[in-house]
């Protein structure tokens, strides 16, 4: 509503503005014209002055042409003056009009202003409430929008976001960490752990991949003690082992120490330590690893020292020289140098090298002291060591660690004792003796097993031992072995020898003894079960039957080493099976047997007795994957049974005739053909069975007419059929007319089906 009002008001104001602009332009034109008129007025005043002067002049002193000229000019000026006066009058009337218009505009503007004020008041009144409400709501929105703007800026400003997140993140992680313990108790996967697991693993992997050295440097102070602790136990065992070995030594010095231990009643190892471990660390150099500059240097009092800086650098140069000259992969480092009574031990950290100049025999654990000191210096001053550029003042706090390594141990006086044979010593000797005995027994038993193993190997066919020896705790065997011979490792197991205890090198060869030759033949030929293989005096005997392919392969076996001749009495499988079938079934000549792809086919006609015998024989034929694959006897026919069936079919047949005629009723061709076929079959079967057969044909009539007529018709109908059969290849000796037993006659209502010929077989 208010919008429409505002639009109407705007339109009204626009039209007023346009009107005022137009009036303003007109006013401006009028003002310009007035200015022109004022200039004209000035000219007019000048003319008046001139006129007065002309009036005052004495005309007699002025030439007449000049006076005429002046008069002309005056007339022209008067004319122009007149015109000007007219224009002024017009302008005055225009000014009046303008004033009228101005007044009208003024009144119009006043009325418009009044109208506008009224409208404005009404609008204000109408929308005051709404505006107030709107303003109130907008005032509520302002802070919200400001906050939204700030938030948007924060979101877009990634740095600010990062800062904010950095403030919150530690607290969030701390809070999440507090839940881990509880979750672990409940055997749940801790969320923080699960979330951080993969990125932390990735970061570590990446960091190690990028720079292994820096990671190693970080871990150096931690790894050293951890590794040392782990290997301490191993070292203890090694030391004990060394002590035992020392105890078992019978060197001159060792015997002397043993006597001393015997006399003093102290353990032998104590005496060894007392006599051996006397040393003095005379100088300690802490050298910057990269530059070779001396970081710190400490030494025993009274020790003559040279230019320690030059010595430090020379140490580094020599290390570099040794590494470059003798280390294959340039990573090994010089760890000690021995010169007469002096030994220089070197330990390396990532940024510094600790070099100790020692006189005498240093205990092994001194290296641990060196490592520990070096690790402590790296742990505390790693960064200073790394960035060392020649100023050693900031690294003076390292001196206490260096002084710690400046150790010395003097030889103690041995205390004598009156104990000559202490029970402890006797016990030790007893244990040593038992140990010797135990070791001897086990050694003997072990040697026995080794000997037994070698002897058995030597006896085994297919194995030839060329060389065997016991070296470095292992039995080394070199020999030749037929791949078909027994497995030496299995035999070794039988003797309780593990693969680590026996190292064998077997060169493959072929043993030509019949046993291996036959085994190899069987492996290579893979004979079927139907073949019997036998090797005798280098002759390979093959008996049985097999496929032709296998027979071909087997007969070429003479090419194999160890076989000189092949005696082949093999049959081809189908041929063998046919022979077997004939032998089992003994079929008559009318029966044909055929074997193809191990399938037996039996065809032919036999009498019932023979048929049954053959059937029984078939049951006895072997059917297996290597023998008959199948037997097809569908072609074997029981001729007697077949003949009976044919007779039955013939005797059921009838051929019909037209009334009173010997002509066959048409449309009996199928019956006729069937009859002819069966009669032929019957004759064949009879021939197989070697029995004569006669087809008796009897003609019948419907009884119309006299008896003689019907008798004649009967005879004629039978003869008609005989002729037809004869014409179709049946010999007449197999055909015979038999008159009906009853001749019908004198019937008034004849039956057409009685006009027929029937058949009987006689054999």
């Amino acid at each position: 509503m208010s919008l429409e009002k505002n639009i109407a008001l705007a339109k009204a104001l626009k039209s007023i503005r346009e009107f005022l602009v137009l009036q303003q332009a007109q006013l401006h034109a009028i003002e310009e014209r007035i200015v022109q008129l004022e200039q004209e007025q000035t000219h007019f005043d000048v003319l008046n002055i001139l006129e007065d002067r002309v009036d005052n002049l004495e005309l007699e002193h002025i030439p007449s042409d000049i006076i005429e000229n002046i008069e002309n000019n005056l007339e022209k000026s008067l004319t122009r003056l007149y015109l000007l006066e007219k224009q002024i009058e017009n302008l005055e009337s225009g000014q009046v009009r303008f004033d009228d218009i101005d007044r009208q505009i003024q009144s119009l503007l006043e009325s418009r202003q009044i109208l506008f004020d009224e409208i404005n008041n009404k609008i204000n009144e109408l929308e005051k409430n709404k505006l107030v409400k709107l303003e109130t709501r907008l005032s509520h929105f302002e802070p919200v929008l400001t906050r939204l703007g700030k938030l948007e800026k924060q979101i877009k400003n990634s740095e600010l976001m990062t800062q904010e997140l950095a403030k919150v993140l530690p607290h969030a992680i701390r809070q999440a960490t507090q839940h881990i313990t509880e979750q672990m108790k409940n055997e749940e996967k801790a969320g923080l752990t699960e979330s951080l697991q993969e990125p932390v693993e990735h970061c570590l992997r990446h960091s190690i991949h990028e720079d292994t050295r820096s990671f190693a440097n970080i871990l150096f102070p931690v790894m050293g003690p951890a590794i040392r602790r782990a290997i301490n136990e191993s070292l203890k065992n090694v030391v004990q082992s060394i002590n035992k070995t020392a105890e078992l030594s019978f060197s001159r010095k060792g015997l002397a120490w043993r006597v001393e231990a015997w006399r003093s009643g102290r353990s032998f190892s104590d005496i060894v330590l007392q006599n051996s471990l006397i040393y003095r660390v005379e100088q300690v150099f802490l050298i910057h690893r990269e530059s070779g500059l001396l970081i710190q240097h400490v030494h025993q009092k009274g020790v003559e020292i040279g230019d320690s800086d030059a010595v430090s650098a020379m140490f580094t140069a020599i290390q570099d020289f040794i590494r470059d000259s003798f280390s294959s992969n340039k990573t090994e480092e010089l760890s000690s140098v021995e010169i007469g009574d002096y030994t220089v031990w070197l330990e390396r950290g990532p940024y510094a090298v600790l070099a100790c100049v020692i006189r005498g025999v240093t205990p092994y654990h001194f290296r641990e002291i060196m490592r520990s000191s070096l690790e402590m210096m790296h742990a505390h001053y790693g960064l200073l060591l790394q960035n060392f550029e020649g100023d050693n003042v900031p690294l003076q706090p390292c001196l206490p660690w260096l002084e710690k390594t400046l150790q010395s141990k003097t030889k103690e006086e041995a205390k004598t004792s009156s104990h000559l044979l202490s029970p402890q010593l006797i016990g030790i000797f007893g244990i040593i003796l038992l140990g010797f005995l135990g070791w001897g027994y086990f050694h003997f038993e072990y040697q026995q097993r080794l000997t037994g193993y070698i002897n058995e190997l030597q006896k085994l066919p297919g194995i030839v031992i060329i060389f065997s020896e016991f070296d470095d705790g292992k039995l080394m065997i070199t020999g030749m072995r037929d791949p078909l011979a027994s497995e030496p490792q299995k035999i070794a197991q039988n003797y309780g020898l593990s693969p680590e205890e026996v190292e064998s090198v077997w060169t493959p060869y072929q043993d030509l003894t019949p046993q291996f030759v036959e085994q190899r033949l069987r492996q290579q030929l893979a004979p079927p079960s139907t073949v019997d293989i036998r090797l005798q005096d280098h002759i390979l005997y093959l008996e049985g039957y097999a496929s032709q392919n296998w027979i071909n392969r087997a007969t070429s076996a003479s090419l194999l080493p160890g076989v000189q001749v092949v005696s082949d009495e093999l049959l081809e499988t189908d041929q063998f099976l046919l022979f077997l079938a004939k032998k089992t079934l003994v079929p008559p000549e009318s029966v044909t047997l055929n074997v193809q792809e191990r399938l037996l086919q039996i065809t032919g006609y036999v009498d019932s007795m023979t048929f049954k015998l053959l059937e029984q024989g078939i049951q006895n034929l072997p059917q297996s994957p290597t023998e008959f694959a199948g037997i097809d006897s569908s072609g074997l026919i029981d001729a007697e049974r077949e003949r009976e069936q044919v007779i039955q079919r013939i005797e059921k047949m009838k051929l019909y005739f037209n009334q009173g005629m010997t002509q066959l009723v048409p449309e009996q061709k199928t019956t006729q053909q069937a009859l002819l076929k069966n009669v032929h079959k019957l004759l064949v079967l009879s021939q197989i069975l070697q029995q004569s057969v006669v087809l008796q044909i009897t003609g019948n009539t419907d009884g119309t007419g006299s008896k003689i007529l019907n008798q004649q018709l009967s005879q004629q109908r039978a003869e008609t059929i005989i002729n037809w059969l004869h014409q179709n290849g049946i010999e007449k000796r197999h055909l015979n007319v038999v008159p009906p037993t009853l001749i019908l006659f004198g019937k008034n209502e004849p039956n057409p089906s009685d006009r027929n010929v029937i058949f009987r077989i006689n054999y």
Partner: protein, 166 residues
């Protein structure tokens, strides 16, 4: 006191060892040069701005290229003296190559080029134009003589000053 490791670099027989011998009281025998390939001496100098600096001089056996051993010996060096024999022009070229190889190994380090054997003026082969060219490139070049001691102390002192500026 500040220590600085410096290396003497230059072709064979340019006079490195003679310069060192002129400069310091030797701690080790010259045999080291032919065995280990380096000989080390120390010398306390005053930089031109008055600081005491202990120079650890690594006199590396001369060669026209950097050997593997020499590369190891260069490690951690704060500066070097590049020495040529002014009577043998080829040593100039070798020195340039060596300087390039050393810079590749150490990065940019302060160095001074010493044109040694300056006393043998009649045999001098290095053209002044070559020298001027290098001077224009900002190199510091000094004519030295181990025989007369010309500029020997000054060379070490100047190098110490240059190294302290870094």
């Amino acid at each position: 006191m500040i220590q600085k490791k410096i290396c003497m670099i230059g072709d064979f027989s340019v006079g490195k060892t003679s310069l060192v011998a002129r400069f310091v009281r030797q701690s080790f025998s010259d045999k080291y040069l032919t065995t280990v390939g380096v000989k080390i001496d120390t010398k306390l100098v005053k930089s031109t701005d008055g600081h005491d600096v202990k120079l650890i001089l690594w006199d590396i056996a001369g060669n026209d290229t950097l050997t593997t051993a020499a590369t190891s010996y260069l490690r951690g060096s704060a500066g070097f003296l590049l020495i040529i024999d002014g009577t043998r022009l080829p040593t100039w070229e070798s020195a340039l190559n060596l300087r390039e190889a050393v810079t590749k190994q150490l990065g940019e380090k302060p160095f001074i080029m010493l044109l040694n054997k300056a006393d043998l003026t009649e045999q001098w082969e290095i053209d002044q134009e070559l020298i001027d060219e290098k001077v224009q490139e900002g190199w510091i070049l000094l004519k030295t003589s181990a025989k007369t001691g010309l500029n020997v102390e000054e060379a070490f002192s100047e190098l110490a000053t240059q190294m302290l500026k870094v």
